[in-house]
């Protein structure tokens, strides 16, 4: 490709646009984190100022730390998110493969059935889900959350993954079959690596709502030992809360771990998304 066609003016415009949007994207997060480090008066007097020696304060963090075991909450959130994602990707990819690869009676119907779940918020089924968890003794366990999130994530995973799996060339799979590979080997060794970008997409789509969900932790696992980070920080944003130091600190504590994880994994994520393309 002719790389010389990028004029400096074009490049400048590109950077200007990207810098503008980056600033817009980061501004609210910065406001929260910066203000969490200031005294109450300073927050309200000059919300945009950086903390100075006079206005610096960690009082909010102290309040928050006294109230709950944030390390434990963080660990719970991690377990739930990672386990749910693993199950969504595995089960979702398997089902998507079956749907896109094999022609069997009821294929289309099964596809539609699995897609139904995209269309109704699972929250509506709360009471029935809770009853199910009570009957199976899973209330106040992380397993309850993992099951719900897996079920909730599957429809979209199947939908996206089967779109992509249809594009995997038949020649490759048929060559595998001629070599005597089992269907399972073809799936795990040939097809899965090829749909990695799609898997990354599904992972991102599902990770966010799972990590940030407030509703099911509140209903299914509100116990101290199973509280997630989002639920733990919600305690500070109730109706009667005026302690903004604590609120801002709790929010910062909820943001920073996700942010750190994201920074660590974003490289892999992008590589995953683009690997199919640049090969």
């Amino acid at each position: 490709m002719n790389r010389a066609r990028q004029s400096p003016l074009n490049t400048l415009a590109a950077h200007a646009a990207l810098i503008t949007w980056t600033a817009v994207a980061l501004f609210p997060v910065t406001v929260i984190v910066v203000n969490s480090l200031k005294t109450r008066k300073a927050i309200f007097r000059e919300p945009l100022a950086l903390p100075s020696p006079e206005s610096f304060s960690l009082i909010g963090y102290r309040t928050v730390m006294k109230q709950g075991d944030f390390l434990q909450y963080f660990q719970n959130s991690m377990i739930v998110t990672v386990a749910s994602l693993a199950l969504i990707l595995l089960f979702g990819a398997m089902a998507a493969f079956a749907l896109s690869e094999y022609r069997f009676r009821g294929n289309t119907l099964m596809g539609l059935y699995l897609a139904l779940g995209i269309m109704i918020p699972i929250r509506i089924g709360t009471v029935a889900i809770l009853e199910l968890m009570v009957q199976t003794g899973l209330v106040n366990t992380l397993a309850a959350l993992i099951l719900v999130y897996t079920a909730q994530g599957l429809p979209l995973a199947v939908f996206i993954l089967s779109e992509f799996m249809r594009q995997v060339s038949d020649d490759l799979k048929n060559a595998g079959r001629i070599d005597g590979l089992s269907e399972y080997t073809i799936f795990f060794k040939l097809v899965l690596p090829l749909v990695r970008p799609a898997m990354a997409t599904v992972a991102v789509f599902n990770m966010i709502p799972i990590w940030n969900d407030l509703w099911f932790p509140l209903i299914l696992a509100p116990g101290e030992a199973t509280k997630t980070l989002t639920l733990g920080s919600q305690v500070f944003i109730g109706q009667f809360v005026t302690d903004w130091n604590a609120v801002l600190s709790a929010l910062s504590l909820a943001i920073l771990p996700v942010l750190a994880l994201y920074v660590i994994f974003s490289r892999q994520l992008i590589r995953g998304i683009t690997s199919g393309a640049v090969k």
Binding site: P28, A128, Y262
Partner: protein, 303 residues
Amino acid sequence: MAFRPRLHVVVFLAPAVLVYTAVMIWPLFNTLRLSLYTAGEGGRAFAGLANFATLFGDPRWSAAFWNALGNNLWFFVVHMAVQNPIGIALAAILSQPRLRFAALYRSAIFIPTILSFVIVGFAWKLILSPIWGIAPGMLDAVGLKALFAPWLGREEYALTTLALISVWQFVGIPMMLIYAALLSIPEEILEAGEVDGITGRAAFFRIKLPLILPAIGIISILTFVGNFNAFDLIYAAQGALAGPNFATDILGTFLYRTFFGFQLQLGDPHMGAAIASAMFAIILAGVCLYLFAIQSRMRRYQF
């Protein structure tokens, strides 16, 4: 290829179908079934379509429903008109070869997407607050103080403001998907275009855009489904009554308020289920439209 299900097909499908049926479909089905009943004397009584008759026939219920549906449509229109074009533009800029700091921009722009609604709602309320003065202060600094209004509190602006906040949060998703689609366009096609003298902006509109149409289609349908299931941002920012004067009430908040109740209003699972069924029908219609009308036409462009 087999024409009858073989064992491995069952093995591939079983885990997903089992978990999905037990934890999602069965509870949802159980709930939707409630829409055909009412709470009568000593338990629940079969009522046929009476709840739907109330929802669409009673002037109060139907006014609330159409208001929520109209707001929801506007919410979707704002996303389609703002979020997706911005996402495509950002992806197009980012996919320029040899752009410096591309990875940095990409990561930064995606950050709002990973934040919870609680954080987003709180942060924006705080920035737009007329009292805190971040937004008014900034407008003042550039001499545009007169432009400031308490947007979230005004009926005419509140919904659009919230829709734009949602756009801010989710623009990273179309950006990422389009970015991946753009990178997957084979070099040969672009080079062939260059030979014909199609470069730069023309290359984007005449060669790349048609090729990423399927990706744009998927994004549109995801936006549609996401918007018509939306709830959390409105709830976090404006509460279950979706003020001011229901100007930000969308189907999700209407459903929540009806199903679970609010303040002194007791929850009505039967009417709630009726609303949920209506939502389900609307989304189903939209998805079918996409699958049958749009996607089948777009397939022709696929390579």
